[in-house]
Symmetry: C2
Subunit: 675 residues, 2 copies
């Protein structure tokens, strides 16, 4: 057996053969060496601290054990993180609360967060939803009362409770009510039905003691719509549920079982008037409802969350790609004609087709998130000034990107898992947690089909605007373009073809809807066509964005010369993959493109996979994931796959005694039964 | 809240609105009323027995708890099942061991098996692999010694150990060795490397005490290839590992954690000469190796296992479809223009597109499995007589069907899960177990890509035979057909188009390979094209089979008149879905088909979904799954989704005390830290 520090010789050879320097790639990918070193320092801070070493794989634990284990670790993590951040603060310019929240959100959604908490953790929503909601929806006075305490966990651990057992996406259907009692100047909170129970909020089960509760406000029996209320649900000291509060864990899920998702029912729970968050709307003591301005920033928050999801799932996908790529260099199978040693499975084109497009997707999804993030910051400033001219475009873009990227990431992770054969199915390979994270993102914060329909409506509206010769937002300007182009297999042409296809798909759908309008029963029936239009638009955007981004970064020197070739290969793989995945739509809508052209791209695509193969390991090394980030027996830097699989198995609780007494008793019963 | 026996009113209404009778459908689906009643009797036998009621959802359990719980339940199950079968035997003509094994295999892989054992169970391989291997590979003398004991668990619980840590698919790479010691007339068994450890066999971890071990036979240092050996690995009485045996559980997987997959290393373990299973090959006491005839039946076994997989995954898919369809009738979301009540989500075309094709696929995958099963029985008889003329065709067909159906079933289950929104992610919805079963089937018993390549090689060979004007096997006769057809959107035409596309895909790939041959480095590089050819062939076969089967069953009256319309709708949905999923290939290879025709089929497909909607619940009712088969809070017959979700949550161990003492201690630490 190799020594404890040896690198698997196949991986060592891969690194020798590479034409790029992984460190150079890592610096580019991190956005500069400062960023890279900062990230490594954080990783070191936690991973080298013995109190963050796991002694058992979480997949061995019961639901209850996992909760207790995760809570303890999360508390340790937050205490240490705060201490660290405090030390840093005085030197640099102090961050605003919102900036700090952004930082923490990125940290916890990023590789360190998933490395420490592969099943996520129950205090995350305190940062990602509870604090942001207070910040944006509490009045200045309320902020004074609550924000600092909440920020410091001073008697307060919170979450955001909106989704109910019977309603998620359709907010108007939510049933929780808050009736204003003018006499006592209190709100009376109730869950009038089983379906009105809050269901899903992270941390709600046994962890938090306060919530921002979204409830239908009623004053003198009249409804004033959905409003946010700050409610204590557990005693600050004893942690016992408050009177009238029925709260608990919703039970195990397919994944992300560290979140402690909870349910909450309220029965005549009373809170004072000043606990309705009143930055936007307000109730006066006498029961007058004062409607505030349109809460534009709230729309902005939804966009923000979706951009973060795109970024998070790109990490999930790239981690899975790193694991599978390294494993594919180590695993050997079969002998090619004339060969001596068995073939590394990464040499099979069928394997390359599973691995490399995922690497490319992960990269360009992250770049797309960066691009939309920049756009978000511009729009946020505009919204601060009450200007919402770019909000619809930003909203439409973030909807379809969230839907496409979460869907593709989840599918990609499954392809990568299966590319690792049986071993990919081992919990210790960690594809299970990565998949759970990505696939859950297909549903939360806007179910993907619903989001695609929102983007599609934006497209149809703008197509109509285009017919009216109006100026279109930048990302949909192509809806007015001429469908003329000259075929070549160049990337520029492929991107143009994707845009024309998207335009034609929107046109097709628009006219179908026009026809359907005559039949009132069929208004609902354009759904499939609309979602297809949104997907094509998202693909066209991604292709254009990728092309512009890489060309721009090569031109301005952000991508150093030594990385140009490999980045161009990845760009080619990404765009050709989008093109080939859209072949059915392209062939339907662009009559001049035929099988011959598709096969031409297919052949170039395969060549590109073969060419990229040499640097595949060096590129995934360049994402610079710490072994602990990946948490995978198959994906470590040293490639000692089999040793790790065996070591992990030996640690399994079932193997701590040679005979399992309980089960061997049952088996003896069977063997003595004389069947 | 509704009374304990009430049916959700939406589901009641669905059943009233249906034009078909679910019981009539159930009789057809079960293959006659006798079969249906027999199945219901078995379900009653177990589900109404209080010793088979679960008091906790398995997702709450630790890996160790699950093993202990599953073993106990499995022993109870086998004792009861055997008792029941014994009672039945004297009356009917007794089954042969092989027939009885088939029956048991079908029972355990079917809905009752997955209902009782959603994470599978550790004794299953005793039946599905250990006994069949003894039956087929032990000599008559060895059968006398071992078979009856094994059949009755008389001191023997076994599994089949082939796959190793370092090798799965590529059998020649397996490293476990058996050296024959002429003097003592014994084999000396060894795992010479870490990678030679057996890894994966079900039940191997802590359950079985004997294995059929596949090992490379060496006599006087010379290799005689892979042979089967019968080896005791644990003491019959104490269950302690035998000397030289290193055995244990491989640790948790993404799913199927009831299987107790194990690892096994051997160090100088000696077994007597007569424990090499010698029906095929034999070692004489003096060390002479006597090679037997080609073990044709073994190839047959692989085919059998793959056919069973197609059948099993069709059950997984249909169960998921039943759950999601019922839930979609109960769940309401949003108000359509002019509506009063919220819309049932089953009314959205985008939802129908997620549900109905899966119902159709599940049905036709089962019918495909039936068809190949019939073919298998014919070929088995031929093989018994040493005739292998149909083996290659059967093999190729079973390979691509296993690959396509397991892949589509797994994908379909995920689509169905996501169609249930957040609640689909609850462990209690049971999509997790159904998905794990289907996706694991993509890897075991022949990894899907490898299987597709095997089918593709058969296709290419036959295409060449076709060029040579040779007679082709029935399922590939179309490779010689003329690419002429007259377009219409009729099913017959769509099937013909799929066949022509498959033929053209094979032709295209054949000529690509011819060109590649000139470049010896590129022999491996047709992989992507070859797998595409195999997939197209599988689709063409499925479409033709479905068309023939339904037309035939309507003609001969097997499908009663009242079911004809709905079966035709399902046939239409199935074939049009295959057609639209293949649109890129069709448009590439058949120049006369253009966007116009594709959109024509798209429009008909959408109409068909809308038409089928009325009977969707009645059809899934007609699969006649017992609520316990489905094991889903979302899928029960009464549709009381929210009550069940809440009841299941309240049973969760975490909720048995209002405050979790351990974690609240940690949280208090956080709140007192004065951050």
């Amino acid at each position: 057996m190799a020594s404890a520090t040896a690198i698997n010789p196949d991986l060592a050879q891969e690194r020798k053969n590479a034409t790029i320097n992984s460190e150079e790639f890592a610096i580019w990918w991190a956005g500069g060496s400062n960023e890279l070193y900062k990230k490594r320092e954080m990783a070191k801070l936690f991973y080298e601290d013995p109190q963050f070493v796991d002694h058992q794989h979480i997949a061995n634990m019961s639901h209850k054990e996992l909760y207790e284990y995760t809570t303890e670790k999360a508390v340790r993590f937050l205490l240490k993180l705060r201490e660290y951040l405090k030390k840093q603060q005085p030197e640099a310019a102090p961050l605003t609360p919102i900036e700090e929240m952004y930082e923490l959100r990125a940290l916890m959604g990023g590789p360190l967060g998933s490395g420490l908490f592969p099943a996520n953790f129950p205090l995350r929503l305190h940062y990602s939803m509870f604090l942001p909601t207070l910040l944006r929806q509490a009045s200045d006075e309320q902020c004074k009362l609550w924000l600092e305490k909440a920020w410091n966990f001073d008697g307060i651990i919170g979450t955001y409770a909106q989704t109910e057992l019977g309603h998620g996406t359709y907010l108007r259907g939510l049933e929780t009510r808050a009736d204003y009692d003018i006499e006592k100047q209190e709100f009376i909170l109730n869950s009038p039905t089983l379906t009105s129970y809050k269901w899903w909020p992270g941390g709600l089960g046994l962890t938090v003691n306060m919530v921002v509760l979204m409830a239908q406000l009623y004053i003198k029996g009249r409804s004033y719509g959905f409003q946010p209320f700050l409610v204590r649900i557990r005693n600050e000291k004893t942690h016992e549920p408050e009177p009238g509060v029925d709260v608990g864990d919703i039970g195990p899920r397919i994944g992300l079982n560290g979140v402690n998702n909870g349910y909450l029912g309220l029965k005549n729970v009373r809170i004072p008037l000043n606990q309705m968050l009143s930055r936007n709307n307000q109730v006066l003591p006498n029961g007058t409802f004062v409607k505030g301005p349109e809460p534009l920033l709230l729309y902005g928050t939804m966009v923000y969350v979706r951009v973060m999801i795109v970024r998070d799932v790109s990490v999930n996908l790239l981690q899975a790609a790193t694991i599978a790529t390294r494993y594919s260099a180590v695993r050997r199978q079969g002998v090619e004609a004339g060969g001596q040693q068995e073939t590394q499975i990464i040499d099979f084109l069928t394997q390359q087709q599973k691995l490399f497009p995922q690497i490319a997707k992960g990269i360009f999804f992250r770049l797309a998130a960066d691009r939309v993030w920049d756009f978000y910051r511009v729009v946020s400033k505009e919204l601060d000034q009450g200007n919402k001219r770019n909000l619809a475009e930003l909203h439409a873009l973030s909807c379809c990107l969230k839907a496409i990227c979460s869907d593709e990431a989840a599918k990609g992770i499954e392809i990568l898992r299966k590319a690792c054969g049986g071993h990919g199915f081992m919990a210790s390979a960690n594809f299970g947690n990565l998949y759970a994270a990505a696939t859950a993102a297909c549903t939360y914060e806007g179910e993907n089909t619903v989001l695609l329909l929102q983007t599609a409506r934006f497209l149809v509206k703008n197509y109509l605007d285009g017919l009216k010769r109006l100026v279109l937002p930048k990302t949909v300007t192509y809806l007015r373009m001429s469908p003329q182009f000259k075929w070549s297999a160049k990337l520029e042409t492929l991107v143009t073809v994707l845009e024309i296809t998207s335009m034609e798909r929107v046109r097709h759908t628009f006219f179908l809807m026009q026809r359907n309008k005559k039949n009132p029963k069929q208004t609902n029936h354009a759904g499939i066509q609309l979602t297809k239009a949104a997907v094509m638009h998202g693909r066209a955007f991604l292709a254009r964005m990728a092309l512009d981004s890489i060309r721009g970064q090569i031109k301005n020197g952000t991508i150093p010369p030594a990385l140009r070739e490999v980045m161009n290969q990845l760009l080619n793989i990404f765009i050709m993959d989008l093109f080939l995945s859209s072949a059915d739509e392209i062939l339907c809508f662009i009559p001049s493109i035929k099988g011959k052209q598709i096969h031409e791209v297919e052949a170039r695509y395969e060549k590109c996979l073969l060419a990229f193969r040499r640097n595949a390991v060096a590129v995934v090394d360049g994402f610079d994931y710490h072994d602990r980030d990946l948490a995978s027996t198959l994906g470590c830097y040293d490639g000692r796959v089999y040793e790790r699989l065996m070591a992990e198995a030996r640690k399994c609780e079932l193997n701590l005694e040679p005979v399992n007494t309980k089960s061997s008793g049952h088996l003896n019963r069977l063997m003595k039964a004389k069947l």
